[in-house]
């Protein structure tokens, strides 16, 4: 009986939180189109999130491309299908692996950073100080960060995809003596708009989810320094889960429109 009521309580609190996140998102859409626009802060956030994530995304993309090609090679060779390697790698990376892995990395790096930063600003009354000084903290801190993650993630995904393909071409060049030109010719022949467009649109949603959850967790953090840690951790956990839900919906919708 007690277990049932505890489960019921958890389900209730889950849906309450989902509702609160939805209200938070609605507030974002209300405020993003109203003046004053915090353009300077938004550009600063874009720089912070985009430029400073390049190395991590680049290294991950490189290793991803390298490992993926090395692991797939023996199986394709077994069937005499090694010439399909560029097509297979490019479609897999651009459609699915690139956006999801980049988004997960950014959820860890950017989402947790936003959660911790806003959380510590909340507990040290910096957000209150902003409010009192006549600046709308939601606009200055939340709107700018969500816009920045939404705009920057697709760019990071494109960058990560490109690095992964370059790494894959290195492996093919060294192991299969395939020239870079031939490799990339095959890559571009295999790719269609229906591979690139859904993946890019999906990346915008991934970026939005990272910003939204990170900001929500940080902005409403209220349990002191423990709360800051919780906000940072919860931002990563909830964002990661949400990314997979978005990915599932995106694939489902893409299937309807592009018959993938």
């Amino acid at each position: 009986m007690e277990t049932n009521s505890r489960i019921l309580e958890k389900v209730k609190s889950f849906f309450t939180e989902v509702g609160e996140v939805a209200f938070f998102a609605i507030r974002f859409f209300k405020e993003v189109f109203t003046k004053p626009f915090e353009t300077g802060e938004m550009l600063r956030q874009c720089y912070n999130m985009g430029n400073r994530s390049l190395l991590l995304v680049g290294v991950t993309g490189f290793i991803l491309g390298l490992v993926f090609t090395l692991q797939s090679r023996p199986t394709l060779m077994e069937f005499g299908a090694q010439s399909w390697m560029p097509s297979m790698v490019s479609i897999s990376i651009i459609r699915e692996i690139g956006p999801v892995i980049t988004a997960l990395i950014c959820a860890g790096r950017i989402g947790s950073g936003i959660g911790a930063e806003l959380g510590s600003m909340r507990v040290t009354e910096q957000i209150d100080a902003m409010e009192v000084s006549g600046t709308n903290p939601f606009k200055y801190l939340v709107v700018t960060r969500i816009v920045a993650t939404t705009l920057m993630l697709p760019l990071l995904v494109i960058f990560g995809d490109a690095i992964a393909l370059i790494a894959s071409s290195f492996v093919e060049h060294l192991k299969g003596a395939v020239s870079f030109q031939l490799y990339f010719n095959q890559v571009f022949n295999a790719l269609k708009f229906s591979d690139i467009i859904p993946a890019t649109i999906k990346s915008f949603f991934f970026g939005f989810a990272i910003g939204l959850i990170g900001c929500y967790k940080g902005y409403y953090c209220n349990k002191g320094t423990v709360g800051v840690g919780e906000a940072s951790n919860a931002a990563v956990v909830y964002t990661s889960m949400l990314l997979f839900v978005i990915d599932f919906i995106a694939v489902f919708v893409s299937d309807i429109f592009f018959e993938i």
Partner: protein, 249 residues
Amino acid sequence: MNTETNQEPVLELKNLRKSFGDNVVLNGFNLKLYKGESLVVMGKSGSGKSVMIKCLVGLMQADSGSIRIKGQDITVLGRQELDLLRTEIGFLFQGSALYDSMTVRENLYFPLRRHSDKIDGLENAEKLIREALANVGLEHAIDLMPAELSGGMQRRVALARALILKPKIMLYDEPTTGLDPITAKEIIQLMRDIQETYGTSSLIITHDVDCARVIANRMILLVDGINYAGGTFKELIQSNDPKVKAFFK
């Protein structure tokens, strides 16, 4: 200073009530702050002093009651009107609340960004920042980050930031908490200097008796969510009421 005069209060709380679930924090609290006076509100930790001051600037919503600042009821003001009114109020937070990702200069510039009309254009910003820092004796710290400052210096910078728009009303939330006695005295002296220089009306929330003794023109004791007692420091310290006496032991 005789404050219970016929003049209009610059700040007035009437019958303010605020609860958190079953915990009643403010239970009909009243307060009037007159022009040029220093009013100290004393209460135990957790008595609702900070809740009261946060309701006053719109950081928290009171359950009921009226809050009037310079004749305007803040509970009915829109965002823009409230922001405009807030430029008339300086707020010193208990933990200084400096933006730790910004330098001292940027911290002081922040309130000026949206209110350039109040300072005749942002080209005057640098002059105002230097002037505000000079008033608190920290002109040399202009390019430092908050983490590079001591607790007392952070409080001074926070004071300079609160004063940069030359507010008519200053609100201090525990201005001496967490400071050593010497630095606390310096901050209290600074508060007095500001009062004299700018002619501000000050509302000070504290449980520091020394601070109250030096700065208060008038005091209110907040007990059980109401104004339990009021008067000058001298009147209250001579009271025989055990609850009042407990504050001055």
